[in-house]
Every structure is written in structure tokens, then in C-alpha cells.
């Protein structure tokens, strides 16, 4: 079995108009790694994350995640794959009619986990993100940073081996963004591989790690930032 958790080999996505969103993208991510995908708007960061989350299908090349070939992943099996991978969205994607507790517990409800196990894990993960006292509140009563914490809590409650985040600090002030990044590092230290799409250079400098840069759908550099 390969040590790399994610392997992309000459991955491309070509639209019907013959325009490429991604072209010949190749890289690997090791288990437990923390990495950034960066680039300007339209560079292909979100498309790449969507491909890794099976929201888009590559038109060229191969994507292997945990030895699973995503290009041959059947539509009916996508939901199983998504239970093993977490995704944090820039716009949080929380259900406004459900409480923080219910939003976070939803991935476990889907897995038909017992109520006691759900309760134990939800309380644990809410403590981790610092929202134990907001469990009964509704998302719209929370600040942007708190909502993002709820979204992170929901994405990690299923204990994913890979956590993807698309501009998770894009809508947050710098102080809150720093707290969120700290949270990602804690999650990574617990063993989860984390891949974050961002164009916030300051944040990457403050929390240095591997950086994969994209430009017009191609990888233009892959390096480790100095501490």
C-alpha cells in the first residue's frame, strides 16, 4: 500500500468549450500532511478541491485517494466516500433551521449512530472548537468565525482521514482567521491530513507549511515555506 494518501497524476478538466479548468496537475499528499493550495482567482483551487471531494469528475488523468480511484467511483458510491472526507466551505453551508448541535450531529445521524454515541462525540467536538456553550443556538445567531467553527466541527465529527477546506478564512477578520487556522493545525496534529485552498499569503507565512501554487489550471510551484 502506498504511503501517499492523495495522488494526482496528470489530472485535467476540460470544459465543452475546450477551455481547461485544470491541466496536467500532478502531486502527492502524504498521510498526516498539512498543505496549502494557492493561486489567484480562477487558478483552479476550488475545482481541484471539488475533484478531491467527488463533486467534479476529471476529464483526464487519475486521482487516487486512500487507494480509491475517483475517476471510476460510481455515482451511487459517492456518499460513502464523502463520509470519509471532510470539507469546509467558505460560506459554511450550515442548515439555518437546525441548532448548532443538530448541524454537527447530522453526519452521525446519517451513519445511524446510536444517540448516546452521537451525544458523546458532538459534545467532544464542540469543546474542541470552543462552542460547547452554544450547542442550542441557531447558526444565524453566531458570528462568522463561530459559524466556521461549527462547519469545521461538522466536517471532523466523522473522523475523516482527509480534511479539505476551500478559503475557510475568506469571510473572516484576521484575528478570527488566525484562530481558525490554529484549529486546523490541532486537527492535523490529531492525524488528519489537511489541504487548504487559500490566497491569504500572510496567513500562510504565519502558519508555514507545504504550498502548491496553481496558475491558469497548472501547478507552477510546489515547495515548503520557511518557518
Amino acid at each position: 500500500m502506498s504511503a501517499s494518501l492523495v495522488r494526482l497524476n496528470r489530472v485535467g478538466l476540460r470544459y465543452a468549450t475546450d477551455r481547461y479548468a485544470l491541466q496536467s496537475v500532478s502531486f502527492e499528499l502524504q498521510r498526516g500532511e498539512f498543505a496549502y493550495i494557492t493561486g489567484n482567482n480562477g487558478a483552479g483551487k476550488t475545482t481541484l478541491l471539488k475533484m478531491l471531494f467527488a463533486m467534479e469528475r476529471a476529464s483526464e488523468g487519475a486521482i487516487l485517494v486512500n487507494n480509491r480511484d475517483l475517476s471510476s467511483l460510481h455515482k451511487s458510491k459517492v456518499f460513502q466516500y464523502r463520509r470519509e472526507v471532510g470539507f469546509v466551505f467558505q460560506d459554511f453551508k450550515l442548515l439555518p433551521d437546525l441548532t448548532v448541535y443538530d448541524n454537527v450531529s447530522l453526519p452521525l445521524e446519517i451513519r445511524k449512530m446510536s444517540p448516546s454515541e452521537v451525544d458523546y462525540r458532538v459534545r467532544g467536538v464542540l469543546s474542541l472548537v470552543g462552542l460547547a456553550d452554544r450547542a442550542r443556538d441557531y447558526p444565524l445567531t453566531l458570528s462568522g468565525g463561530e459559524q466556521q467553527r461549527v462547519a469545521i466541527a461538522r466536517s471532523i465529527i466523522g473522523k475523516p482521514f482527509l480534511l479539505l477546506a476551500d478559503e475557510p478564512t475568506g469571510n473572516l477578520d484576521s484575528e478570527t482567521a488566525r484562530e481558525i487556522m490554529q484549529l486546523f493545525l490541532e486537527i492535523n496534529e490529531m492525524g488528519t491530513t489537511v489541504l487548504i485552498a487559500t490566497h491569504d499569503k500572510a496567513l500562510m507565512e504565519e502558519f508555514p507549511s507545504r504550498v502548491i501554487s496553481l496558475n491558469k489550471g497548472r501547478v507552477v510551484s510546489d515547495h515548503r515555506m520557511d518557518v
Binding site: 456518499f79 464523502r82 453551508k93 433551521d97 453526519p107 446519517i110
Partner: protein, 296 residues
């Protein structure tokens, strides 16, 4: 999602968006009132048509020299024939009297040519007897030696039956179109309503929900809305029927000859419930399937 949780989740949505669900229920109800109203009219008009459908009768003109004994024997023979319900004798005197009474005068001698009238036998046959059987019966009766001629009111009856059949077919086609139209109306309305919950479906889909988890609340909602929508429709139809029945009984029963109008049969009520629940389910399932097509 377990069925119980799906049920609870659906109910929580009823609490969250009561007006939206009420509106859905009312839309279903209105569509079902239209369909049920058609069923109600169809059922009662059928009853009315049966009640007012004409009795088929025939007249056998007897030969001049026929004796009373021969008439009696002939009546027995005709009555023993298949499909004949009643036979009655009318002497020429009775015929003339009836004609005079119809014309508003008395005294057989006053009617010129009345001596030419023959004695007759009036025949009543079973209702809804097909034309071919009437023709056969006519042939048998006309071959009896005492009978000079036989006449049945079957020509216009055949026309009447044809028109009834055409009206029945037109009614059924209209009912089919009405059900289809109402179904599309409801499905579109539900589709639009569930479009507002598209984001919700998208989110649960992204966190790994399977088809059952997503669709279970919609199934419960469909069942609940369909059931209550149909119940409202049935109650409204029952109220309308009671009102119109008493109105018709008070004013028109003498003309129509039906004192009590019928409500829907159990089968028709069941059909209303099935259509209601199906309509409500269709909306949710349609939007779910559309969403599934859009995703990878």
C-alpha cells in the same frame, strides 16, 4: 435516517414553515375537490341516467279473427320467451278510449276510422336489452299466427344508447385529463416549493447522506400533506353534497326523480387519498431526482 427520525424531521419542518405546508395542503385539496367533484357528478348522473332511461316496449297487432282464448294462450307463450318481462292485452275499445282521452273527447263512435283499430298486446322487455336481441324477439313474435305485425321502439332507443355511450367515454376522457392536469399542477407547485429546500438537499448530500436519508423526510411530508389534503377535500365534498342534495330534493326531485343523491363510493374515496398522496410525493421526488441528475 431512521423512519422515526425522518418522521420527526418532517414534523419539525411543519413547525418551521407552517404556512408553506398549509398552502401545499390546500393546493392538493383544491385539486382533489375538482377530481372528487367530477366523481360525485359522474356517480349521480349515472344513477340519474339509469333512473330515467326509457323502458323498451313493443306492440303486437293481432289479427281480426283472434278469439279471447287464442289471445290468452298467445300471452302465455310470449311471456315464456326470454327477456320478456310483461305482456298486457288491450282491446280495440281500450285503444280507442285511450286515444280519445288523449285527444280530449269521449264516445268511441265519434272517432272516424276507429273500427279499423286492431286488438293489441303490449310487451315490456328487460332494460338495456341490446338491439340484436330485440330484433330476434321481434322475429319470434311476428311468426305467431295470431300476430299481424310487431313494432318495437328500438330505433330511437339505439340512438339513445349510442349517445349515452359517447357521453360516458367523453366523461372518462375528461376525468383522465383532469387528473393529469391536476397532477401536473401539484407536481409543479411541489417542485417549486421543494426548490426552496434545494440548498438543504445539497448540504446533506455533501456531508454524505445517501438517497434514503434525503428522501425519507419528503416521503413523510408527502404522506402527511397528501392525507390531510385528501381529508379536507373529502369533508368539503361531503358538505357540498349534503347542501346540494337537500337543495335538489327540495326543488328538483319531482323532475329528476332521485330523492337522495349518493356520496362517493369507498373505492372513489380511496382513489382520492391515493391521488393526493401520490401528488404530494411526486413533487418531492421530482426535485430530488432533478438534483441527483445535476450532481456528479
Amino acid at each position: 435516517m431512521s423512519k422515526y427520525k425522518g418522521f420527526r424531521y418532517s414534523f419539525s419542518d411543519f413547525r418551521r414553515q407552517p404556512w408553506l405546508h398549509f398552502l401545499s395542503m390546500m393546493t392538493i385539496s383544491v385539486a382533489l375537490i375538482i377530481i372528487g367533484g367530477f366523481f360525485l357528478c359522474y356517480r349521480n348522473f349515472e344513477k340519474l341516467a339509469e333512473k330515467t332511461s326509457p323502458q323498451i316496449s313493443g306492440t303486437a297487432y293481432l289479427k281480426e279473427e283472434t278469439t279471447q282464448e287464442q289471445v290468452n294462450a298467445l300471452m302465455e307463450r310470449i311471456l315464456s320467451l326470454e327477456n320478456v318481462q310483461r305482456v298486457s292485452f288491450k282491446s280495440k275499445t281500450n285503444v280507442v278510449e285511450e286515444l280519445q282521452s288523449f285527444l280530449g273527447s269521449t264516445g268511441g263512435a265519434n272517432l272516424p276510422g276507429s273500427e279499423l283499430f286492431p286488438d293489441v298486446l303490449e310487451l315490456e322487455v328487460k332494460k338495456d336489452l341490446p338491439s340484436e336481441k330485440i330484433q330476434i324477439l321481434k322475429g319470434i313474435v311476428s311468426r305467431f299466427p295470431e300476430v299481424a305485425e310487431v313494432d318495437f321502439s328500438d330505433d330511437w332507443l339505439a340512438q339513445y344508447k349510442k349517445i349515452s355511450q359517447v357521453l360516458k367515454v367523453v366523461g372518462l376522457i375528461m376525468m383522465g385529463l383532469m387528473i393529469m392536469g391536476c397532477s401536473f399542477l401539484i407536481a409543479n407547485f411541489m417542485g417549486m416549493r421543494h426548490q426552496s429546500r434545494r440548498t438543504e438537499i445539497e448540504i446533506v448530500n455533501l456531508i454524505g447522506a445517501d438517497r434514503n436519508f434525503i428522501i425519507t423526510p419528503y416521503i413523510w411530508e408527502g404522506i402527511i400533506e397528501g392525507f390531510f389534503g385528501a381529508s379536507l377535500a373529502v369533508v368539503a365534498l361531503l358538505t357540498a353534497k349534503t347542501f346540494f342534495s337537500s337543495f335538489i330534493s327540495a326543488h328538483w326531485s319531482a323532475y329528476l326523480g332521485i330523492p337522495n343523491w349518493s356520496f362517493l363510493s369507498i373505492a372513489q374515496i380511496l382513489v382520492i387519498y391515493i391521488i393526493g398522496i401520490t401528488m404530494a410525493l411526486m413533487g418531492g421526488i421530482t426535485v430530488f431526482l432533478r438534483f441527483q441528475e445535476d450532481t456528479v
